[in-house]
């Protein structure tokens, strides 16, 4: 056996000593990581969880035969309360935290580490894969909800409903990207990120909804809801009434939707830059 047979013995010496193109290698890593992530067992459990809004939609169809509650309101509540407050954070938690953290814990990251790949490419590839998996799960759930609400109930299909549905979908998917970016960065730096991430997603993000506006603006949920058209805001429910009153008293002016959009995009960019920087500093001891 000759180790040089069939290989160019000078290949290593001749190879250019520059890293692979960042975007091209991120694409490779992303495509591979996507295949890896959809094979994880957790996709089944998270997928089942994503059926919760569908079950709520089925319940509405089953119980509200007389049409007491409008389809718009149900959709607004499903997207504003169920998806934005819980589902998006949950699915992002499952795939965002593990985007880098899991491959580092398992030790498979070493196979990326020892290639001529910049850490930025590795991070972007893994993040894109996690965001795509999260988005697909959320999108699947949203499509099922739409079908449950509309099949055999075509009367609700008007332009307003469709506009509300499309805008809700876009905002929910954007929320998924934001949360996944945040959790991926957290998973890169924290050894046990689950508890802090849960506290953030279901503690800080949830309780600060009742805080003064300036504090609410520090949450992702606030900006997502600010982007979302919500017919419930105009109805005279007690929480909305209190919020309106408080804003009047404290002369709080909520940001424009475009400001919220910019804020959320900024969170994605900053989280990604931070995560990339953290990954560059990360060391492997396995």
């Amino acid at each position: 056996m000759n180790v040089n047979a069939g290989l160019n013995p000078d290949a290593a010496a001749d190879a250019p000593d520059r890293p692979l193109n960042v975007l091209a290698s991120a694409w490779w890593i992303g495509a591979f990581s996507f295949r890896e992530m959809i094979r994880r067992k957790r996709i089944v459990s998270v997928g089942l969880l994503m059926l919760l809004p569908v079950i709520l939609a089925v319940a509405w169809r089953t119980l509200d035969r007389d049409g007491v509650i409008s389809a718009d309101l149900i959709l607004a509540n499903l997207s504003g309360m169920v998806y934005v407050h819980a589902m998006v954070a949950l699915v992002s938690l499952a795939f965002g935290l593990s985007a880098i953290g899991e491959t580092a814990d398992e030790g498979t990251i070493i196979y990326y580490w020892t290639r001529p790949l910049s850490r930025t490419a590795i991070y972007l590839g893994r993040l894109w894969a996690a965001q795509t998996v999260s988005a697909l799960l959320v999108a699947g759930s949203l499509v099922l909800c739409f079908l449950v609400m509309t099949v055999g109930n075509f009367g609700i299909l008007n332009l307003d409903f469709l506009r509300l549905y499309v805008s809700a979908c876009l905002v929910i998917l954007l929320g998924g990207f934001v949360y996944t970016a945040i959790f991926a960065a957290a998973g890169t730096v924290l050894r046990r990120p689950m508890l802090p991430a849960i506290l953030y997603a279901f503690g800080w993000e949830a309780i600060s909804g009742n805080a003064p506006l300036k504090l609410q603006e520090l949450t992702v949920v606030f900006h997502l809801r600010n982007l979302m058209h919500n017919p419930a805001r105009s109805v005279d429910s007690m929480p909305n009434l209190l919020q309106e009153l408080r804003q009047m008293v404290m002369r709080e002016v909520p940001p424009e939707p475009w400001q919220s959009l910019l804020t959320l995009l900024g969170v994605i960019v900053v989280s990604t830059l931070l995560g990339t920087w953290l990954l560059r500093r990360k060391e492997i001891f396995r």
Binding site: V3, A12, E36, Y111, W113, T114, R115, E283
Partner: protein, 307 residues
Amino acid sequence: MSAVLEARRVSKWFGEVIAVNDCSLTLGPGVTGLLGLNGAGKTTLFKLLSGLITPSQGEVLVRGRRLRREVGMFRRVGFCPESDALFDWLTGREFLTLMIRLMGFDGAESARRCDRALELVHLAHAGDARIGGYSKGMRQKIKMAQALAHDPEIVFLDEPLNGMDPVSRREISHLVKELGEAGRCVVVSSHILPEIETMTRSIVLIHRGKLMAEGDITEIRDAIHDHPTIVAFRSPEPRRLASFLAGRDLVLGVELDDLGRVVARTDHAVNFYRELPAALIEAGIPVDEFQTLDDDLQSVFDYLVGQ
């Protein structure tokens, strides 16, 4: 020796614990065994050399350039990790192809190199099977294959013979030796000394974070002047030989072993070997053969770390 891999006054500490303390070494083509007891700093030094961690102080250079800063230099490096983590859902061929593509080769070249690497580690028959179904030895081989497929100049092998059957051990030991002979700089880390000895006589010994010895095992052994060397002689006149040796200043003790050999201990091996042939001829004592019993790696290692 042309420096392929160089560590300059490298230290690494974790909090207040110093894992590697001011180590400098230069490695060129050939196989080098990295040895050390558990907790000696061997793994940390190995990871420093292979660019997986950054030195707290000092620098590690590949062809004069920093691996950690210039990741493009990883084209020159092959790394076989100790960790058993692999992408179990892939076939061996898919895994290798991905690894080669990520080295920057195109599809056709990746496929060619994949086949070649599978042959190199004697795994061609299992290339299309899922890695999850591989035995421990096969997993080691596929890790070796991904480290060698792009024909690197420097190869890091962390416990490469772990879990292999005797036949595979022999094959891989032979392959490692061949890589060294072909001019690759191969660094092998192992805690099983006889394994290292099958691949190389060149070692780097780390103990308590410090570089304790570096070079050929025999040279290191010879440099240990104050440690007794044990030499066994075969002679048709063993008692006469024993009596002769016992009377010499350089000899600390003599005994006859179960194999009928005369075993002498000396604390000045170099002088002993220099003076003995002439003295034996002068005394007219016939000697059929003699051999040093403790210049194997285990003896040198035991002596050095046991000091």
